[in-house]
């Protein structure tokens, strides 16, 4: 089951590489949030406890409801155009992702020989981290950078579930809170930037001075 969810996770990463709409990024984030929630809930089906449901519930509320809503509101308030303005062609971007994914899968297979990790979730999480970084590097819009950061964070989460079978829950909730605060701060920053500069692109930040 973990493998199945990881495959779907990887598919969403591919979709992220070819889509050219800001809205699609938000839906992918939502989809990934749902996948991660199911991933955490799944082991608890056999031995159910209310306490175990706190983390999935928090995850669901933050990743599937709060953050996407907040990003959508920023998109509407700041009147951000719907295309993502890539700096390289989508085709090259997708090729880059395919090659790095192949590399990551091969490497994690080698790693899994010596350590006790689940290859597929581990590699999927790792790929998400790399794709998140690529999204931040190769896109101009600031709001997409926020999305890239969140993909990276999702990757770390999946990575964590692959490495340790049971995560200390308080730490995970703390991380979630951090992410929420970061997205919140980025939103405020975007609002500020929009009142000073007309564009929401990295290129226009060159003009900023003290």
């Amino acid at each position: 089951m973990q493998n199945v969810l990881s495959i779907l996770f990887c598919l969403s990463l591919f979709y992220l590489a070819v889509t050219s709409r800001v809205k699609a990024y938000v839906s992918v984030l939502q989809f990934q949030g749902i996948l991660l929630t199911v991933l955490i809930v799944f082991p608890f089906i056999k031995h159910f406890s209310v306490f175990a449901l706190i983390l999935p519930a928090t995850l669901f509320i933050i990743k599937v409801i709060l953050i996407p809503r907040y990003i959508n509101r920023i998109i509407i308030n700041l009147d951000i155009k719907r295309t993502i303005d890539p700096t390289i062609q989508q085709f090259t971007f997708l090729l880059l992702i395919i090659f790095s994914m192949t590399l990551i899968f091969t490497t994690s297979n080698i790693l899994s020989n010596s350590t006790d990790i689940e290859t597929i979730p581990f590699a999927s999480g790792f790929s998400a981290i790399v794709v998140g970084i690529f999204v931040i590097i190769f896109r101009k819009k600031l709001i997409i950078h926020v999305a890239g950061f969140l993909v990276l964070e999702n990757g770390i989460f999946l990575f964590g579930t692959a490495v340790v079978s049971e995560l200390p829950m308080m730490i995970e909730i703390g991380v979630l809170l951090d992410v929420f605060v970061v997205v919140f701060l980025m939103g405020i920053a975007l609002n500020r930037i929009s009142s000073t500069l007309s564009g929401f692109e990295v290129t226009s930040l060159d003009r900023l001075k003290d």
């Binding site: 089951m1 493998n3 199945v4 495959i7 779907l8 990887c10 598919l11 591919f14 979709y15 590489a17 070819v18 062609q89 989508q90 085709f91 997708l94 090729l95 992702i97 395919i98 994914m101 192949t102 899968f105 994690s108 297979n109 899994s112 290859t119 597929i120 590699a123």
Partner: protein, 308 residues
């Protein structure tokens, strides 16, 4: 027993040859219904073919023997490819180890001759269409090899019939695998048969066409052969897609046939819906659309290589 298998194989091939135009007609009819039109009757492709048979064949003055032989080669090669695919659990007429490669390259040969014939005519429009077809098929070929190749790799078999029948459903991952594979085969079918997001079969504006522009100067029996082979080609890809769903039936001949009919109808519905809700891509976006399907194939291969 041997005789019955052979007869079943022959019947399968005859079904493909007979039903191929119906499938195209069904897709067009559904598409018309979804867009609020009445549409041409489902049997319209047959009427078209009959009309073409009566017409006279005229070839361009600058064309050579390639233009004469290419339509016939195209049809024959596509029919041979159709004989490799199974319907239900009947063993197809041609089935041997390694026929997966033969299947891919038979379709490649058909495309090659079509491109040659298009350039042979000497019109710049046909040349443009040929160039596009060649360019996009470069991206379409890896989809086939990564998708079917990954199942071949997992099962360790190289015959299409054997590969499909080795898929077992006792593992949950295989169900996802089937769904994922069928997505990439669907994209392959759309691009190879020049359906909507890649090419619009109904436009007759030369600058936007890919497949249709190559057969602009053909008429009469030549056009009949091209049209018929394109109907069969669409049906072949539909069957390739259908084959992923056979493992859901218990291995009996009747259930296989029922699955075949249900999935083919569902697929025509899916094609019609996709053609209704999407518009044609810009030319520069097509490679990335095809690469997306290849990426799915690569992912399949990676996952099933490294699953312990």
């Amino acid at each position: 027993m041997e005789l019955i298998t052979t007869i079943k194989g022959i019947i399968s091939l005859l079904v493909i040859l007979g039903l191929a135009p119906v499938f195209s007609g069904l897709v067009n009819k559904l598409k018309a219904i979804f867009t609020g039109k009445i549409g041409a009757p489902i049997l319209q492709p047959y009427y078209d073919l009959k009309r073409l048979l009566k017409k006279e064949t005229i070839n361009s003055g600058s064309s050579s023997f390639i233009s004469n032989i290419s339509p016939a080669i195209n049809l024959v090669v596509v029919i041979i490819a159709a004989a490799i695919l199974p319907i239900g659990f009947a063993r197809p007429m041609i089935s041997f180890d390694g026929d997966i490669i033969l299947f891919a390259y038979l379709l490649g040969l058909a495309r090659f001759f079509q491109i040659l014939a298009a350039m042979d005519i000497g019109s710049s429009f046909e040349g443009m269409g040929a160039a596009r077809e060649a360019a996009f098929s470069v991206f379409a070929e890896p989809i086939f090899f990564f998708t079917l190749g990954s199942i071949a790799f997992i099962s360790g078999l190289t015959s299409i019939y054997d590969i499909y029948h080795s898929i077992s459903l006792d593992n949950v991952s295989y169900i996802v695998f089937i769904i994922v594979c069928s997505i990439s085969v669907f994209i392959l079918a759309v691009s190879e048969c020049s359906r909507m997001p890649v090419d619009d079969p109904n436009t007759h504006l030369e600058l936007t066409m890919i497949h249709e522009v190559m057969i602009l100067d053909n008429s009469g029996i030549d056009l009949f052969l091209y049209q018929y082979s394109s109907y069969i080609k669409l049906f072949i890809y539909a069957m390739l897609e259908t084959s992923f769903f056979y493992p859901f039936g218990v291995k009996s001949y009747t259930v296989g046939i029922i699955i075949f009919i249900v999935v083919i109808t569902a697929l025509s519905m899916a094609l019609a819906i996709v053609e209704t809700i999407t518009s044609r891509f810009k030319m520069k976006n097509i490679p990335q659309y095809l690469l997306f399907a290849t990426a799915i194939g690569v992912l399949n291969l990676l996952i099933y290589t490294f699953t312990k």
